[in-house]
Symmetry: D2
C-alpha cells in the first residue's frame, strides 16, 4: 500500500463522496445536463489558473535544482499545454475565450484552490502535494473507471472527450508519476505521527473536490 492508498483508506467517506459523486455517475451514464458540464468547464478553467500558481509555489519551494525543474515542467505543462486543450474543449461546448475571461470564481472553486495554495504556503512540499493529490491522481482514477464502465460505447458517448483525456495513456502516466513523487516526498518528511494530519488534509481536499462537482449541479443564481 503506497502513501496514496493509505490516504484514501484513512478517509474512505470523503474519498467516496468525491469519486462517486452524482456528477461523476451522471457523466458516466451520459445523463449529466449539458448546462452542468458547461458550468464545470468554466470553473475548471479558473481552477487551472490557480493550479498553475500551485506549481509555481512548488518551484519556489524546491530544495534542489532537480525538484525545481520537475515542478517547472508541471507549471509549463499547465500554462503551455493544458490551458490550450481546455480552451479548445470549451469551444466545442460553445464557450468562447471571452466567456472564460468574464467568468467569476464560484465559492467551491475558491475553496479548493485557495485551500491547496494555503496548505502549500503554510506547510511543506508534502502538504502541497497531498492537497493536490485528489485532483491530480483522482482524475486518473475517475477517468479510467468511467472508461471501463462505458467500454466500446465511449466513441459516441457525449462526454467522450473528457473521459478519454483522463483515461488516456498520457494522463495515466502523469498520475503514476505524481503518485511516485508523493511517495518520495513522504519517504523524506512523513513519520507515523504526522500521518493523521496528512490524512485530514487529504480528506478535506477530497470533500472540497466533491463540492466542486456539486457546485456544477446546483442551480445558478445571479451573482
Amino acid at each position: 500500500m503506497d502513501v496514496f492508498d493509505r490516504l484514501k483508506a484513512a478517509a474512505p467517506d470523503a474519498w467516496a463522496s468525491y469519486v462517486e459523486h452524482d456528477f461523476v455517475r451522471r457523466m458516466g451514464e451520459g445523463s449529466l445536463p449539458e448546462e452542468a458540464f458547461r458550468t464545470y468547464l468554466v470553473q475548471d478553467y479558473l481552477f487551472l489558473i490557480q493550479f498553475a500558481r500551485a506549481y509555481a509555489l512548488a518551484v519556489y519551494k524546491g530544495r534542489s535544482l532537480a525538484d525545481m525543474r520537475a515542478a517547472q515542467a508541471g507549471l509549463s505543462a499547465i500554462l503551455d499545454v493544458e490551458m490550450g486543450l481546455h480552451v479548445r474543449l470549451c469551444a466545442r461546448w460553445g464557450l468562447s475565450p471571452d466567456d472564460l475571461e468574464a467568468a467569476t470564481e464560484e465559492t467551491g472553486t475558491v475553496a479548493y484552490t485557495r485551500f491547496v495554495l494555503d496548505a502549500g504556503a503554510a506547510g511543506d512540499l508534502l502538504d502541497l502535494h497531498v492537497a493536490l493529490a485528489p485532483c491530480v491522481i483522482g482524475y486518473a482514477e475517475i477517468g479510467r473507471r468511467l472508461a471501463e464502465e462505458i467500454g466500446p460505447g465511449l466513441a459516441t458517448h457525449p462526454y467522450r472527450e473528457w473521459i478519454g483525456e483522463y483515461a488516456g495513456e498520457a494522463y495515466q502516466e502523469l498520475a503514476t508519476s505524481a503518485r511516485r513523487h508523493l511517495g518520495d516526498l513522504a519517504a523524506r518528511a512523513m513519520t507515523e505521527s504526522r500521518f493523521p494530519d496528512l490524512a485530514r488534509l487529504f480528506a478535506q481536499a477530497s470533500r472540497l473536490e466533491a463540492d466542486f462537482w456539486q457546485m456544477a449541479l446546483d442551480p445558478r443564481g445571479p451573482r
Copy 2:
C-alpha cells in the same frame, strides 16, 4: 468618500448580498432558527483561527516596527481576547469547547478564510486588508444597523449578545481604526489604475461572506 466607501460603491450588489443577507435579516427579526445560529457559531470559531493567521501574516509583512506592532496587537486581541469571548458565547448556546475542537471546516469557511490568506500571501498588505474589510468593518455596519432597527427591544432580543457586541463602542472603534488603516495603506500603494483590482477583490470577499451566512442556513448533510 474614503476607500472603504469607494469599494462598497464599486460592488453594490455583492455588498448588499452580504449585509442584507437573509441570515442577517432574520437575526434582526429574531426569527433565525437557533440551529442556524449554532452552525454559524461553530464555523465562526474555526474562522477566527484562520483570521489569527491572517494577522500573523500582516506582522510578517510589516514594513516597519510600527506596522508590526499594530498587527501584533490585532493578533493578540484575537488569540487572547476574542477567542475566549467566542468560547463563552458558544457555551451559552450549548456548544462546548470539545464541540468546537471536533468540528470540521465547511466549504464556505474554507473559501473565505483561504481566499483572504492567499490574497495576503500573493499580494501586499493593502490586498490583505481589502480582503479582510468586509469582515472587520462590515460586522460593525451590520451590528449597528440591527441595533438601531431593534431599538430598546435589544435587551430581550434572542440575539442580543451578538448584536450588542458588534454594535458596542469597543467594536465600533476597532472598525473605525481599521477603516483609517485601510485609508493609510491605500494612500501608499493604491493608484487609480489599481483600484479596479481592489474592487474585484472586495466584491469577491463580500460574496464569500454572503455564502458564509448562507452556509449556516443550508440544511446540513452528513460529511
Copy 3:
C-alpha cells in the same frame, strides 16, 4: 543525543567557527573593543526586528491553535520585552533609539536574517526552527560557557550584562524549551533521509552567525 546535539555533531567546524569565534573569545577575555560591541549592538537591534518576523511566520504556519499560541508568545516576548531590554542596553553603551532607527542593515545581518526567513517560507516549521537554533539555543551555550570561564569576576566584567542575560536562568530555560520544541518538530517531520538537508541548513546558519560576529570586528567603511 537529542536533535540539537545531532545537528551540532554533523557540522562541527561550522559550529566551532561560530561559538568559538574571536568575537566571543575576546568578549570573554574582556578585550573586545567597545566599538566592535557597539557595532554588534546596533546590528543585533536590526536583527531582532527580522527575528520577530520569523516568529510571526511561525504563527502563520502553525498547524494547531496550540502551535500558534506558542509562537505568538515568542513573538510577543520579542516585541514587548526583548526589544525594550535591548534598547536599554544600547542606551548604557551610548546608543540612542535614534541611532538604532537610523542604522542600515549590514550584509551579514541581511544574510542570516533573510536566510532564516526564506528557509521558513520555503520549508516547514522544522526548517524554520533549525535555521533559528544556532541563535536561540546557541546564545544560551555561549553565555553559560563564558559565565563559567569568568566565574566570580563577572560582577565587574565589561560585558557582564550581555553575558549575564544569556547565562541567566530565564534565558537558559527559554533555550531548553526551544530545544524540546525542536525535538517535537523533528519527531513529527524528520526522517533519516531528511536529516542531511537539515544538517546543511544548520551548518549554513552557524556559518552565517559566525559572519555576524566577524562583521562587528571588520573595520567599517562608509556606506
Copy 4:
C-alpha cells in the same frame, strides 16, 4: 526619467559602489585575477538557482494569466537557457559541473538572494522587481559600458565572453523589457509616498550587489 532612473538618482552612492566596483573596473582593464573571476562564476551559479526561485515567486504572485505567463517565460529562460550557458562558461574556465554542485553559498550570495526573495514574499511584485533591478537591469548597463570602453579590443579581451553576453543585443533587449515592466508595475502600485521605501530597497539591493563583487575579491578562508 523612468522609475529605474529615479531609483538610481535616489541612491547615487549605493549605485556607484556597485556599477563602478573595483571588480568591474579590473574586469574592464583585464587585470582582474582569474581566481577572483572563478570565485564569482561559482557563486553566480548558486545565485542563478535562487534567481529562478524569485521568478517562480513572481508566477505565484501574478494577478493575471498574462502576468503569470511573462514570469514563467523568465523562469524558463533561467532554468532552460541561462544555466546551460553558465555551465558552459564555467567549463571554459576550468570549473566542472561537479565543482558547481559541491560549492557552498558564501555570505554575500546568501545576503542578496534571500534579500530579494524576502522582499518579494513580504511585499508585492513591485517590491520584488525593484529588488531584482540592480541585477537584471544593472548588468546590461555594466556590460554596455565596458564594451564601449574596450572598443575593438574586446575580441581578444580575457573577459570577452562575460562582457559580450551582457553587452549583446539579446541581453540589452531583455533589460529594456524588464525596465518597461518595472514602469508598468510602478504605474499600478507606486505613489509618491511609497517611493522612499522603494528607493531604500533599491539602495540596499545595490549595496548587496557591490558586496557580491567584493566577495570574489576577498581572500578565501577555509569554511
